[in-house]
C-alpha cells in the first residue's frame, strides 16, 4: 500500500509547491523524489506480500513488479518532459501533477483484484491523460488529440462499466477470485449475460490497449500529444492495462472460454496485420510508432493466448523490453523537438547520423529493438513470445506474427534509411552557430536506456528471474 500512498502524497505536495512557488525545476525534483521514494518503498513492502488490502487491491509480487516498471517508466517520462517543457512557454509545472496522478491510476490498476478498483484506476489514469494529451493547448494538434481521446475513452469506459454490470448481474460478485470460483465451481449460471458482459469488458480493455478494431484514436493521439506524454501513453497506460488483462483473465480462467479465445485471436491477428500494414503508408514518425505499437500489442496477445506461467512470463518480459524501447524511441523524438513543434516528420530525421551520430545510434538501437534484431531487448522479448506461442502450438498466430513482423521491418528500415541518408548539401543551410544543445537530463536518460536495452538483450537472465518470481505469485486458474 505504501507506494500508492507515496505517489498520492507526491502529487499533493507538488501541487502545493506550485501554489507556493512556481518553479519548473522544483516541481521536477519533487516529482522525481516522490517517484524514487515510491520505487524504493517497493522493497520495504516486498516482505509483507502478498497482502489483500481491502477487497479492492491485492499487493503481491506480480503487482509490485509492475508497479516498479510503471514508476521507473514514469521517472523517465518526467525527465524527458523536463527537457521538453524547458523550450515551452506558459505554465509547465502542472504536467507533473498530472503525470503523478496518471501513475497513481496505473499503479492501482496493476494491483486491482476487483471491478471497482479496476474502474477506479482506469478513470484516474484516463482523466489525467486527457489533460496531458492536450497540455500544450496553444497548439492545435494536442487539442485535437486531447478531445479525441476524451470522447473515445469516455465511450469505452461506458462500455466497460456496462460489461462489468452484466457480469455482476450474472455472477453476483465483482471480485476476480470469486468470479474464478463461480466459473470453475460449475455453479449454475447462464452465459447469456456473461458473454455479452465479457465482450463489453474486452471492448474497454481493447480500447486502452489500442488493438484493432479499437485503435482508431491511436495515431491521432500519438501524433498530437507532446512527445513525452506520448511515451507515457504508449508505455505506462498500456503496460498497466496488460498487467490487468493478465491478472483478470488468468486468475478467472476466462481465457479458456472458447469464444473469448476466438475473439482475442481475431483481435491479435487483426492488430498485427492492420498495425503493420497501415504503418507502411505513414510519413510521420510518431504515427509510424503508433501503428507499430498496435502491432506490438498484437504480438503480446499471441503469447497471452498461449496461457500458462511461461506465457505470462513472456508477456511480462516483452513489456519490459517494450517499455525500454518505446521510452527510448519517443525520448529521441522529444529530445529533438523544439519550442514550435515536435520533430515528427520523417524529413526531420534525414541525415541525422551525420549531424548527431550518437543520437542517431540510439534511435537505431531502439528501432532495431522494435524490429526484434539481436543484441537488443526486443529480440529476446520477441523470441519468448514466439516460444510461448510455439509451446501451445498456435501456429496460425505465430505465422501471422512472423510474416507481419517482416512487413514491420520494412517501415523501421525506412526510418533507418532516412537516418543514414547523406545530409542534404543543398536546400536549407545548417543553422548558424552549430546545433542547438540537447537537454542534459534527456541525454543521460537516453544513454541509460540504450545501455539497459543492450544489457537486457545480451544477458536477460536477471530480468527473467525477476519476472519469473513476480509471475509465480499470480494465482493461475
Amino acid at each position: 500500500m505504501l507506494p500508492l500512498l507515496i505517489v498520492t502524497a507526491a502529487a499533493v505536495v507538488v501541487m502545493l509547491a506550485i501554489s507556493i512557488k512556481r518553479s519548473h525545476l522544483l516541481a521536477v525534483w519533487l516529482t522525481l523524489v516522490g517517484l524514487a521514494a515510491a520505487f524504493f518503498s517497493l522493497w520495504i513492502v516486498a516482505p509483507l506480500t502478498p497482502i489483500q488490502v481491502t477487497p479492492l487491491l491485492i499487493v503481491d509480487g506480480y503487482a509490485l513488479f509492475y508497479m516498479g516498471l510503471i514508476l521507473a517508466a514514469t521517472f523517465v517520462t518526467v525527465i524527458l518532459a523536463y527537457g521538453y517543457l524547458e523550450n515551452q512557454s506558459g505554465y509547465r509545472e502542472e504536467l507533473y501533477v498530472l503525470i503523478l496522478v496518471a501513475a497513481l491510476g496505473s499503479v492501482v490498476l496493476v494491483a486491482s483484484s476487483h471491478f471497482v478498483s479496476f474502474f477506479l484506476g482506469l478513470e484516474v489514469l484516463s482523466v489525467a491523460l486527457y489533460a496531458m494529451s492536450a497540455y500544450l493547448c496553444a497548439r492545435k494538434p494536442p487539442l485535437e488529440a486531447g478531445l479525441k481521446y476524451l470522447v473515445l475513452a469516455a465511450a469505452s469506459a461506458a462500455f466497460l462499466l456496462f460489461g462489468m454490470a452484466l457480469v455482476y448481474a450474472q455472477l453476483g460478485t465483482m471480485q476476480f477470485g470469486q468470479i474464478a470460483a463461480m466459473l470453475s465451481g460449475g455453479a449454475c449460471y447462464s452465459k447469456a449475460l456473461l458473454l455479452p458482459g465479457i465482450a463489453l469488458i474486452i471492448t474497454g480493455i481493447g480500447f486502452k490497449l489500442a488493438v484493432v478494431p479499437f485503435h482508431m484514436w491511436t495515431p491521432d493521439v500519438y501524433e498530437g500529444a507532446p512527445a513525452p506524454v506520448t511515451a507515457f501513453i504508449a508505455t505506462v497506460s498500456k503496460g498497466a492495462m496488460v498487467a490487468l488483462l493478465l491478472r483478470y483473465f488468468y486468475e478467472t480462467g476466462m481465457q479458456h472460454l472458447g469464444s473469448v479465445f476466438l475473439v482475442f485471436s481475431i483481435i491479435a491477428i487483426a492488430s498485427m496485420i492492420a498495425g503493420n500494414l497501415l504503418a507502411l503508408f505513414q510519413n510521420n514518425v510518431k504515427r509510424i510508432l503508433a501503428y507499430s505499437s498496435i502491432a506490438h500489442l498484437g504480438y503480446v496477445l499471441v503469447a497471452f493466448l498461449a496461457g500458462g506461467t511461461r506465457a505470462a512470463e513472456a508477456v511480462t518480459f516483452y513489456l519490459v523490453a517494450y517499455f525500454i524501447t518505446t521510452l527510448g524511441a519517443f525520448g529521441v523524438v522529444s529530445v529533438l523537438s523544439n519550442g514550435e513543434r515536435d520533430a515528427d516528420v520523417l524529413d526531420d530525421y534525414r541525415g541525422l547520423f551525420w549531424r548527431r551520430p550518437v543520437l542517431a545510434g540510439i534511435f537505431t538501437l531502439m528501432l532495431l529493438s522494435l524490429a526484434g534484431i539481436p543484441l537488443t531487448a526486443g529480440f529476446v522479448g520477441k523470441f519468448f513470445l514466439v516460444a510461448a506461442g510455439a509451446s501451445s502450438a498456435l501456429w496460425g498466430l505465430i505465422f501471422t506474427l512472423i510474416v507481419t513482423s517482416v512487413i514491420g521491418l520494412f517501415y523501421y528500415l525506412r526510418i533507418l534509411v532516412a537516418l543514414y541518408a547523406p545530409p542534404a548539401e543543398t536546400g536549407e543551410a545548417a543553422p548558424a552557430g552549430g546545433l542547438p544543445a540537447l537537454s542534459r537530463g534527456g541525454s543521460y536518460v537516453l544513454a541509460a536506456l540504450s545501455v539497459l536495452l543492450v544489457w537486457v538483450g545480451v544477458y536477460p537472465a536477471p530480468i527473467l528471474d525477476a519476472v519469473q518470481r513476480a509471475v509465480s505469485t499470480l494465482r493461475l486458474f
Partner: protein, 124 residues
C-alpha cells in the same frame, strides 16, 4: 444458452427508433415558410445570434461547484457510517478533506478565485 430473448430485444430496440423516424419521414407534413427555420416559430422573433460568448468565469464557477460541492457527497456517506468505520474512517476523511484543502490552496494561488481579470493579468 438462452440468447434469443436478447436478440429479440436488440431487434426491437433497433426497430422502434428506426420505425419512428421512417414513419415521421413518410407520413409527416412538410412546410417551408418564412419562420420555419427560426427558433420560436410561433412566438417572438429572436434577436441576435445564439453563439453568445459567455465570460469564461461562469464555466470556472460551474466547475468549482462540481468539484467542491460534489465532494460533499463523500462526506455525507461517511457521516452516515461514522460509527461503523471508526477512527480509521475518521482519518481517511481527514486526508480526503486535506487534499481538498490543498486543491483549494492551489486554485487560490493560481488566481482562479479572483473575479476581476485585471489582477489575474498581473499575476500571470
Amino acid at each position: 444458452m438462452v440468447l434469443w430473448p436478447f436478440v429479440v430485444f436488440f431487434v426491437i430496440v433497433l426497430i422502434i427508433p428506426v420505425g419512428m423516424l421512417l414513419l415521421s419521414h413518410v407520413l409527416g407534413q412538410r412546410h417551408n415558410e418564412h419562420a420555419t427555420g427560426s427558433p420560436y416559430e410561433s412566438g417572438i422573433v429572436s434577436e441576435g445570434s445564439a453563439n453568445v460568448r459567455f465570460s469564461v468565469k461562469f464555466y470556472l464557477t460551474a466547475m468549482f461547484f462540481v468539484i467542491f460541492d460534489l465532494e460533499a457527497v463523500f462526506i455525507f456517506s461517511w457521516a452516515v457510517a461514522v460509527r461503523e468505520v471508526g477512527w480509521a474512517g475518521y482519518i481517511e476523511i481527514l486526508i480526503f478533506t486535506a487534499i481538498l484543502v490543498a486543491t483549494l490552496v492551489y486554485l487560490w494561488r493560481l488566481g482562479a478565485l479572483d473575479w476581476s481579470p485585471k489582477q489575474r493579468g498581473e499575476r500571470s
